[in-house]
């Protein structure tokens, strides 16, 4: 009676739930190891910068967070597009699961940037193009989450969220270039980090390791969250009942 495709569609969150459960510890583990390595590089291998002294060490959390905040938005929009195209519930759930982590990392990059700006530029905040677009990215995340929170019907919440994520991703380049242009027309504060050539390699390595750690963490967090969402959505289904009974 049920076609193979339907069966696949129904069972997919169930299998994914179990799969995610098995993967999560590994990603957390990888995040912890990479994080430890990254912190070691940041604080012990990377030498002191002769201009900024120790303040520049913020780069090791700031840049990875900034990279990941943008990357996660793109991944989120990708899942949203998949969901809209193929009507797979799991894709929508992945998109919703990524948003809070992405917003958190955006906030981290704003926060660390501000803390870096005070000693280097003498101001917590300037209306520089890059800063402004990161701020707008934060608003885009918040809009996505607020819209989903306001809709009670999960099906509508999924689709509406997916659409706004896609609209946002089309707009992000436009926003980025407009902000850039806006800023360079006036004289803005110029960000330039002076670094000795020998330092560059260590710094790059540190940032890359930290970025990988953040990446692993983001995957782990998103998978944990998607498991919660699956459980909430599928709580009426057979497999959840069976799973809960098996646990007892």
């Amino acid at each position: 009676m049920m076609s193979g495709f339907n069966l696949y569609k129904y069972s997919s969150p169930a299998t994914f739930y179990a799969l995610a459960g098995r993967l999560i510890p590994w990603f957390y583990g990888a995040a912890a190891l990479l994080g430890a390595a990254g912190l070691y590089v940041s604080f012990f291998l990377a030498p002191t910068d002769f201009q900024q002294s120790e303040a520049y060490r913020i780069i090791f959390i700031h840049v990875p967070a900034a990279w990941m905040s943008m990357f996660i938005y793109i991944v989120m929009a990708g899942w949203a597009a998949l969901g809209l195209a193929f009507n797979t519930r799991l894709s929508f759930m992945m998109a919703s699961a990524l948003a809070p982590t992405g917003a958190m990392l955006t906030f981290v990059s704003l926060w660390t940037g501000a803390l870096w700006g005070k000693p280097t530029w003498g101001a917590w905040w300037v209306w520089d193009a890059r800063l402004t677009s990161e701020l707008i990215l934060f608003f885009l995340y918040l809009g996505f989450m607020a819209l989903q929170a306001a809709i009670d019907d999960p099906r509508r919440a999924d689709r509406a969220g997916a659409l706004i994520a896609l609209v946002g991703v089309v707009n992000v380049p436009i926003i980025y270039f407009s902000v850039k242009w806006w800023n360079t027309l006036h004289q803005g504060a110029s960000v330039s980090l002076t670094k000795a050539p020998s330092m560059a390699a260590v710094m790059l390595a540190g940032m890359l390791v930290m970025a990988l750690a953040v990446w692993m963490y983001a995957i782990a967090a998103a998978l944990s969250r998607v498991r919660c969402i699956i459980l909430e959505r599928e709580r009426n289904s057979q497999w959840v009942a069976q799973m809960l009974e098996a646990e007892e």
Binding site: W124, W127, T132, G188
Partner: protein, 221 residues
């Protein structure tokens, strides 16, 4: 007294259950304040001069948009009639509701204001003045706004209409609030402005609940 504290608890519980609505107003405040530098340009000196005014205008607009929550839900589901029919004097529970509204939509603005102030390059002392002016001013916004909210209950186009009724009444608060911050920036001092704001607050606190009670009676007929 018991009824009022029950009402306050209820309002705060409801706000917690609907956290999204509260946060949305807060972020509206942040976004509107951030629009200005984008419109006006990133010049730090110019922005510093505008800072107080912009944060205040954003607070005005956010307060105005949050008025929709004050009575509309209670009106729609019949709770408002029930409140009117309690033995508690209307002025008492109306004050309670306005207080709850301020706690939920005014206080977060005050707490968020320094962040915005920093974006405009305000210094520590100026931020303190900004926060005190908001502390004295936002309750007035809730009080005056309640009159508009009560009068437009159930009317179509309520959102825009309420802004038309309420914004002109907000202007004194804006002038003294932003004036306090300007005074701090220019070194002229801000006590005068702040004490005027305090005066308006006391006046509004004593008068508006009566006006709101009258407005609610009219709207509920």
């Amino acid at each position: 007294m018991n009824a009022i504290s029950a009402l306050l608890r209820r309002e705060l519980t409801l706000a917690m259950r609907r956290r999204g609505d509260v946060l949305t107003v807060l972020f509206f405040f942040v976004i509107v304040a951030s629009l200005f530098p984008l419109g006006v340009g990133p010049e730090p000196k110019l922005l510093r001069l505008m800072g107080g005014g912009v944060v205040w205008v954003a607070a005005l607009l956010a307060a105005m948009l949050s008025l929709g929550r004050l009575f509309a839900a209670d009106y729609a589901d019949g709770t408002l009639e029930q409140l009117i029919l309690t033995p508690t004097p209307p002025v008492a529970w109306i004050t309670g509701k306005i207080l709850a509204h301020w706690l939920v939509s005014g206080v977060p603005l005050i707490l968020m204001a320094p962040v915005l102030g920093i974006q405009f390059g305000l210094s520590g002392a100026e931020l303190a003045v900004l926060m005190s002016s908001l502390l004295l001013g936002t309750p007035v916004l809730s009080l005056i706004g309640a009159i508009g909210a009560a009068l437009t209950l159930g009317l179509r186009g309520g959102g825009v209409l309420v802004s038309l009724l309420v914004l002109p009444l907000y202007i004194p608060v804006l002038i003294f609030g932003a004036g306090a911050v300007d005074g701090a920036i220019s070194g002229l001092g801000s006590e005068a402005h702040l004490s005027l704001l305090g005066g308006i607050l006391i006046l509004a606190f004593m008068l508006t609940p009566w006006a709101v009670a009258a407005a609610l009676r009219i709207s509920i007929e």
